[in-house]
């Protein structure tokens, strides 16, 4: 029998016992929906974790320091590249070279200093850090109150929540932030007092010795506007000290702030080209970190990065997906038993029909193929319905979870993700499982003795 005849007859037979076959198909769809739901949850959680890690900036950032840095005194010999004596300065030209390395997204100086901030005429000593505009994507700013900097050189500041509470005269209590109306600070002025370093003309003209040059420190004030309040210091894992106030990078660079806590900075001579104590280098993906680090070390700088945690994470989620898949498949296994039951019942009911078909020339293959096709059609419909059901279920659970998170004052998250490949694979998997379930009934129908079958009433 031709394939389209088999399909046509299979559909026709399924329509004859529409209730029973529909119930079996619903059984398959529930199985597929549970599989899709479980795997979507696994995939959604994996993506959420990956997104969080990527946004944290912990695993895609390399910190670059100069080997001339006084903090590197204890370093023994060059592991990779030249010694401290031959190491180039970590200045603007080095920054540009690093920024042009393959897989490097951006390289910006790390500016972090202790200074005094005046709010409503009260002084507060704290650590200030500069942030590039790309930090906007960092998850520390996901739940920001107010907004991020309007530009890279805007006279604006973002405060860390505990510091904002301090400005309001409250003692910070971790986890009890909601009661404090920190948003009242938004748009308020903040004055930063700092020391600006300026190079002085050489004290002994004509001297070849550069160490004779001097610099002055001038006390200056910078008027800032508070535009945002965030929960975390995005660089808290990496900085020497935890910053409480953030300023735009270009603005901070232009201030030439003297950091009295930085020994190297105190002895360094400001020239036409600024040198940096450290650079932050953002790479395209965590996997490219080793190559970027090696290239930077070759240039004569020291590097620091955290190990790629996404590798272990992938392994963890592969195991999680496997378990979720097994649990999801349990329902499909029950559904496949339903298919076998339905088809075996159909054989009993259609025993005489099978006998007639054999008497008028149907081969074993024709009869078996018909039952096999009926199983496949039920699997196809059940799979498609199940994938849609799983997708809808995902949306409902995602919505419910986000509603719960919202009530707990936690930012909403996409914990559910149904990729297209999962939908198509689920449908094909359902067809496959149904066909396997149809094997036994099909074989049983094919082997029926026509004389016995014709006697059946």
């Amino acid at each position: 029998m031709k394939a389209y005849d088999v399909a046509e007859l299979a559909l026709r037979n399924l329509r004859e016992s529409v209730l029973r076959n529909s119930l079996t198909t619903v059984g398959i769809s529930v199985g597929v929906a549970s599989l899709v739901a479980m795997l979507s949850l696994g995939i959604g959680l994996q993506q959420l974790a990956n997104r969080r890690l990527a946004k944290s900036g912990l695993f895609d950032t390399v910190r670059v320091t100069s080997r001339r840095d006084l903090r590197n005194l204890s370093r023994e010999g060059g592991e990779n590249g030249p010694d401290a004596a031959d190491s180039p300065p970590l200045d603007e030209s080095a920054r540009r070279k690093i920024a042009q390395l393959p897989n490097v997204g951006e390289a910006y100086p790390e500016i972090r200093f202790v200074t005094e901030l005046r709010f409503e005429d009260k002084p507060h000593l704290t650590v200030v850090a500069a942030l590039p505009s790309s930090a906007r994507a960092n998850d520390a700013f996901e739940g920001i109150e107010g907004r991020f900097f309007s530009s890279d050189s805007a006279q604006e500041a973002i405060l860390e929540r505990s510091f904002a509470q301090r400005l309001l005269g409250e003692s910070p209590k971790p986890g009890a932030n909601d009661s404090t109306p920190v948003t009242a600070l938004l748009g308020k002025p903040l004055i930063m007092r700092y020391g600006e370093r300026t190079a002085l003309p050489s004290s002994s003209p004509g001297s070849a010795n550069q160490t004779d040059t001097a610099y002055s420190v001038t006390a200056r004030y910078e008027n800032l506007t508070i535009v945002g309040i965030c929960d975390l210091d995005p660089d808290s894992m990496r900085g020497q000290s935890r910053a409480r106030v953030f300023l735009p990078l270009k603005l901070t660079e232009g201030l030439h702030v003297m950091d009295p806590s930085n020994l190297r900075d105190s002895t360094n001579v400001p020239g036409s080209s600024p040198t940096y104590s450290a650079l932050e280098v953002r790479v395209g993906s965590p996997q490219t970190i080793p190559a970027v680090e090696a290239a930077i070390k070759q240039m004569g700088f020291d590097t620091f990065s955290l190990l790629d945690a996404t590798k272990n994470l992938r392994q963890f989620f592969a195991v999680l997906d496997l378990f979720l898949g097994i649990f999801g498949s349990l329902a499909l296994t029950v559904a496949s038993i339903g298919i076998i039951n339905t088809l075996v019942m159909a054989i009993l009911e259609r025993r005489r029909e099978i006998g007639i078909m054999k008497a008028i020339g149907a081969s074993d293959l024709d009869v078996g193929g018909l039952f096999f096709a009926e199983a496949g059609v039920m699997g196809g419909f059940g799979g498609a319905l199940g994938a849609a059901l799983g997708w809808a279920l995902g949306h409902i659970i995602n919505g419910g979870t986000n509603l719960y998170l919202k009530r707990q004052h936690i930012p909403p998250a996409q914990i559910w993700f149904v990729p297209w490949w999962l939908v198509t694979s689920a449908i094909f998997f359902a067809i496959g499982v149904s066909l396997v379930s149809g094997l036994y009934p099909a074989r049983r129908a094919a082997r029926l003795d026509p004389v016995e079958a014709l006697r059946y009433e």
């Binding site: 078909m357 054999k358 149907a362 081969s363």
Partner: protein, 247 residues
Amino acid sequence: MTAAREGKGNGSIAVRTDNLCRHFRMGESLIPAVDQLSLQIRSAEFVALLGASGSGKSTLLNLIAGLDRPTSGSVVVEGKDLARLARNDLAKYRLRTVGMVFQSFNLISSMTLLENVELPLRFAEVDRAERRDLCQKALERVGLGARFDHRPSELSGGEQQRAALARALINHPQLLLADEPTGNLDSQTGAEIMNLLEECNQSLGMTVIMVTHERSLAERYSERLIFLADGKLVDDRNAARTAGEVR
């Protein structure tokens, strides 16, 4: 009619059985439904198998139809020993060589007449467009041209049997087997069906083997009567002679 019969066929053997046995096990005992039966049926012959219930008529017909396999002996149809054919070849034989008509019509109740008649063409992988045309002609030939889309339950017994005959003839078989074709019909409708069988035999040259209880019907339409009892052949005579005695 006799003249027409004498002129048809080429006299070759259509069906031959040699020491054919079909035994069924019923608990401890062995029932010989067909026992050491040897006979020959020529091409284009119209043969009636007669005998009491349980004499083995239907079992013999099933063996010739390739629906059942002998316990021993052989059934040779158109030169093929059915006992030696593989399952698939036996299915092909039923599809191409044999047409079968049953007492209870055996139409599939969920299908229309057209779909029932179309079924053997589907198994024979005939194209859809061609199928419809062939089915319409076959149904028109048996006088059901206006009832294509009716289901069997909407038809009378005679109409159902005519539809079953159209289905049996759709693949142009050489051998038409009829198991009590008039058993469920009144005498007038039965006569109509018998006329159709006779037409198949005479104008299409088909070999017809009919199982029946009705001796008068057998004597009237068939040219040879084979009597069975306890699975054995007890009498094999020319119907024309019997008909002469009766009429």
